[in-house]
C-alpha cells in the first residue's frame, strides 16, 4: 500500500523526468540553435523543479528540503543567465541561423 506522499513523489518525479526527455526531443527536432536552446533550458529547468518538488516529502530533515529548493533557485538563476550567454554568442556568431 503506497502512501499519499509516495504517490505525490512518484507523480512529480516522473513528470520531471518526462520533461527532460522533452528537452532532448526538442534538441533533436527543433530547426535552429536558438529554439534548441529554448527547448533545453525551459524543459530542463522545469524538469529539475518538478523533481525537487517531488523529492521534498522524502527529505529526512526540513533543512534538506530547504537545500533542495535552494539548488533549484540557483539553477534557475545560473542556467537562465548561461542560456542568455550562449544565445548572445550564437546571435553574434552567425546571422544565417
Amino acid at each position: 500500500m503506497m502512501g499519499l506522499t509516495d504517490a505525490f513523489t512518484l507523480v512529480c518525479v516522473v513528470a520531471g523526468a518526462l520533461l527532460f526527455l522533452a528537452g532532448t526531443v526538442g534538441l533533436l527536432r527543433f530547426p535552429d540553435t536558438l529554439s534548441r536552446l529554448h527547448a533545453l533550458s525551459k524543459a530542463d529547468n522545469l524538469g529539475l523543479g518538478l523533481i525537487v518538488l517531488g523529492l521534498l516529502p522524502q527529505q529526512a530533515s526540513p533543512m534538506g528540503g530547504v537545500k533542495l529548493v535552494c539548488i533549484w533557485l540557483l539553477a534557475q538563476l545560473s542556467a537562465a543567465t548561461a542560456s542568455q550567454l550562449i544565445a548572445g554568442i550564437a546571435a553574434r556568431r552567425k546571422p544565417q541561423a
Partner: protein
Amino acid sequence: MPESLTLTALFVLLASAAGLAIVLRSAIAIEKLMAVQLLGTGGAATLLLLGAATAQPALADVALLLVLLSAFSCAAFTLGESEPPQAATKPDEPA
C-alpha cells in the same frame, strides 16, 4: 520507493546522455556549449534522485556544485571569442 527513484534517475541520465550525443555531434560550435549546461541540470537532477534513493543527502552538495560550475564553464567559453571580422553585428540582439 528507492527502486523507482533509481529508475527515474536512470531515465534522466539516459535522456541527458542522448541530448549530449546530439549537441556534441552538432556542426555548430556554440551548440556544443549546451552540453555543459545539459549536464549541469540533468546531472543535478540525477544526483538528487540518487541521493533520495540511497539516503545520501550529501549528494545534494555535488548537485549544487554541478549547477554552479556548469554556469562558470559556460562563462569561461567567452575566452577566445573574438570580435567578428565584419563590424556589421547588430548590438540589439534579443535580450
